[in-house]
Symmetry: C2
Subunit: 192 residues, 2 copies
């Protein structure tokens, strides 16, 4: 039997899972995808959403688990779509975001990721790890990789590429999610 | 002492409270506004959101309480902004909705309201009462009354007026919220 550590990632999103799997593998940790219905609250603050989801998933599964919540925050739209990025993607989509941005003067935006870890063996609160990447909203969709709003987000320092024009490996070099996951991994090795 | 019944409405929205107060008064019931922080989950289905919020508020306050959740569902936008209407109003606003609707062929939309009642003395589930009003999204904002997306929603049978061009009394004649509240009142008189 291998003594390799396994981290349980509660998500239904296979793209997120693949990004996480690659990051955690760099640290010798295996990632297991746990597709479990969890409570996700409405809150303008991603941290509160992730904190509650992790606690809920840990109690339901009786496993030490982590969840990841992310959002695209667009300055000219007062932070929209923010914590509701997934719903907005499923309804008005990237097309809707591009339309809303048409006559806006600034295209500044950032992606924020919050990883929340909860161990049901401990009585403490969820532990949070954050990652953030600044960038801008493009005028048109570019690229076929990634998921969600990746085709319209060009991160700073990404050589003018959108996230959707990068391989998972490239995206993981500086994405919000990879940043949060790396902070989590450092904590994880001490926690379990 | 008066034997008048009092219903506890958990909301932080004074516009909603005033609409409810007027409807319930028609049935001889007083409405008390209870501004209490409750859990609001993310769910595409308003019923699930209202059900959980009512149970949470009742447990926190130890009172029989009702909550009301509403959303504007726009056909051409796949139901957007739906359950997240309040967040979308606070970020992209009516201006954003009008922009998204610019080249859409159909302007059909509906407002849905779900009232959820929970009595902590009983062990049963929250009771739900729904109201729905069909209408269309206007090309421009009209009217100063009401709140939220009222200035861009013209209900069917409203003589071409938007909700924001109506007094509370007029709006209550056929609004989604008033319909749900009337159903609730009928049930309420039996429940408490």
């Amino acid at each position: 039997m291998s003594s390799k550590k396994v981290a349980f990632f509660v998500t239904g999103n296979v793209h997120k899972f693949n990004e996480a799997r690659q990051v955690l593998a760099e640290y010798g940790i295996s990632t297991a995808m746990l597709n479990l219905e969890t409570i996700e609250i409405q809150d303008d603050n991603l941290e509160n959403i992730a904190r509650m989801s992790a606690a809920d998933a840990a109690k339901k599964s009786n496993l030490p688990v982590f969840v990841e919540d992310a959002g695209l925050f667009i300055k000219a739209l007062n932070g929209f779509p923010g914590p509701y990025s997934s719903y907005v993607y499923r309804t008005v989509g990237t097309k809707g975001i591009l339309k809303l941005m048409e006559n806006e003067r600034t295209n500044e935006a950032y992606f924020l990721s919050v990883v929340s870890f909860y161990n049901p063996q401990e009585t403490s609160e969820s532990k949070l790890f954050k990652g953030r990447v600044e960038g801008r909203i493009t005028r048109q969709m570019r690229g076929e990789q990634g998921f969600g709003f990746d085709p319209i987000f060009e991160p700073l320092g990404g050589n003018g590429k959108t996230f959707a024009e990068m391989t998972t490996n490239e995206k993981n070099k500086f994405s919000h999610r990879a940043q949060a996951l790396r902070k989590f991994v450092v904590g994880y090795r001490r926690m379990v």
